[in-house]
Amino acid sequence: MGLRSYVITRIILTIPTLLLLLTAVFVMMRVLPGDPVALHFEKKATPETMEQMRHLLGLDKPLWAQYADYIGGIVDIGYLLQHGYPNLGKSMQTTTEDVGGQIFSAFPATLELAIYSMIIASVIGILLGVAASKAYNSVWDHLIRGFGIVTYAIPVFFLGIILQLVFGVYLGWFRTGLRISPTVQPPAHITGLYTIDSLLEGNLMKFVESFKSLLLPSLTLGIILSGVFIRLTRTNMLETFRLEFVTAAKARGLKESTVTFGYALRNAFLPILTMVGLQFALLLGGAILTETTFSWPGLGRYIVDRINFRDYTAIQGAVVMFGLFVTLVSLVVDILYAYLDPRIRL
């Protein structure tokens, strides 16, 4: 099929998935019992105020009209171009602020956290997984597998709190609650990722400062997620070792390291890549908790704050954003997979 046509086909296929996703969120938020407006005001407002809010949010319209507004708002390209973010309605709390804007300003922080966490998780996971597979059935193997199991059972916020306590409070190495040291100006906003932006700016000091703030939260999330990668890498490597082309490679006199990394890992890597894609969903869930723990100003903390304010449009918008993100990631993973494994394209 060729890489290009595969990519195009895959992108086109994303559209119905997205539509389904948006519809699912809509259904979830609307069909559940409970009147969002009443819950928001917690019965402390007059019926007129509630009616006003309902009208403002379009909740007094029939369901299909609401759906049309909802979808229409999101795909409104004009709005997107004008504001730089899609139309996700207005915040219930302030009724003047756009949910879209709030989400988009909070999102880069989560993205940065997610990327670094995933890198840490996969690096730890792959290295330990390879080590365990080569030391099959030895003490190290069992220890590493045990590590993988135990880290999964630890609630991510518990680990976060402990790390915070040890490194942040007792040792005083890192601070929390901010993406960069309070005395430093954040870098110019190009991608929104402080580490990248500081590098683009050429400012090494800002890079180090933002990295320091990023380290603990991503380490927390990364360690928790690594367990899955350890197990997966180990299993795949063990299976691949038994495959004949690995023995055949050895029979040709290739070096051990070439065989381990060029043959075994390269082929075991593909399921690992898929796992990265699948784990992103888990990552985002963990990110919410991690952000709350470390007061990291990302989308996770945004959604938790909004819950406390009972701001349902904001919650809906954030959920949509998460969904969009996951879809995008799975698209990228699929394309990467096709690039790495030529067999898929046919």
Binding site: L243, T247, R266, R343
Partner: protein, 326 residues
């Protein structure tokens, strides 16, 4: 000096259920340019024997006894690095299933380049590719296909590529493990002819491992018949043609269908291969032998030289075995 000298080789597999002697006290030798055939059923130990020559017996298997001398050097005493330089360069191995022997995510050309550079690190990539193209040409594969992936070739072509990789470094010995089993009959003959041509052109020795005794009888100078890890018969192929002694060998020969006979009943050797965890006492073959003596069930027979460099592991004298092979 013979190219390959194997002496009292024993390979054991250790499992939770016991120890399996996949190769039991095997000795033979092979000269430059000769062909040796290893015949036997699955589980007879022939593949393990082949793999042990390049010390790639899969774990939990281990070589527990014996020596393997290539050009006088005992390879069992070599370091991993020294062994590595022998593999592919001095001794090459062609695996049974071409579908699973090539790296699916590497182009064919890359396979060759990688191998050449592993043994001759200073070779430039372009030069290695040129050599690869020459080899592909000799194998009747279009050189434009050097950038294709393994899954884009048919089984027969993949096997030819495997053979090409095997001879790329001009080895002295090629071990081919069931090189034709995964292929259809017509392609089988072509591959075997190819091996023969290459052998003659480059003066390589060849060890041909197969369960198909007819192939081995046709194409090998010397033949070893394996059963249950033991060498049960070892002779030059002309001698074996004239005088197959061991009941197992005779059984194998009898079971080869003869296309010229119109009224032939297919004959098979009754019974099944021995349970290697708990082999029968005495001769391992006696449960399936037509003429077992009492002694066969008690004591393990040893190799007897019955003349003409013909070795048999059996208590029956040559005259007593049934000999109607026609």
């Amino acid at each position: 000096m013979p190219l390959l000298e194997v002496d009292s080789l024993t390979v054991e597999y250790k499992s939770s259920r016991g120890i399996v002697r996949a190769v039991d006290d095997v000795s033979f030798s092979l000269d430059k340019g000769q062909t040796l055939g290893l015949a036997g059923e699955s589980g007879s130990g022939k593949s393990t024997l082949g793999l042990s020559i390049i010390r790639l017996v899969p774990s939990p298997g281990r070589i527990v006894k014996g020596t393997i001398k290539i050009d006088g050097t005992d390879v069992l005493k070599l370091s991993q690095d020294q062994m590595r330089s022998i593999r592919g360069q001095k001794v090459a191995y062609v695996f049974q299933d071409p579908m699973t022997s090539l790296n699916p995510v590497k182009k064919i050309g890359a396979h060759f380049v990688e191998m050449i550079q592993a043994h001759e690190p200073n070779t430039k990539k372009e030069d290695a590719l040129e050599r690869a193209k020459t080899i592909l040409n000799n194998l009747s594969i279009l050189t434009e296909r050097i950038n294709d992936y393994p899954h884009q070739f048919s089984g027969g072509m993949r096997q030819r590529i495997m053979i090409g990789l095997a001879i790329a470094m001009n080895p002295d010995l090629v071990i081919a493990d069931e090189p034709t089993t995964a292929l259809d009959v017509i392609v089988q003959a072509k591959i075997l002819d190819l091996l023969e041509n290459l052998r003659r052109t480059y003066g390589m020795a060849l060890i041909l491992i197969s369960h198909d005794l007819s192939i081995i009888m046709e194409r090998c100078d010397k033949i070893i018949v394996m059963y249950g890890g033991n060498m049960v018969e070892y002779a030059d192929s002309t001698e074996l043609h004239k005088n197959p002694v061991h009941p197992y060998t005779q059984g194998l020969l009898r079971s080869i269908p003869n296309i010229e006979l119109t009224d032939q009943k297919l004959s098979a050797i009754p019974g099944s291969p021995p349970n290697m965890l708990n082999p029968p006492k005495g001769c391992r073959f006696w449960p399936r032998c037509k003429v077992p003596k009492t002694m066969c069930k008690e004591k393990e027979p040893f190799l007897i030289n019955i003349g003409n460099d013909h070795f048999v592991r059996c208590f029956s004298s040559p005259e007593e075995g049934a000999k109607d092979i026609e």
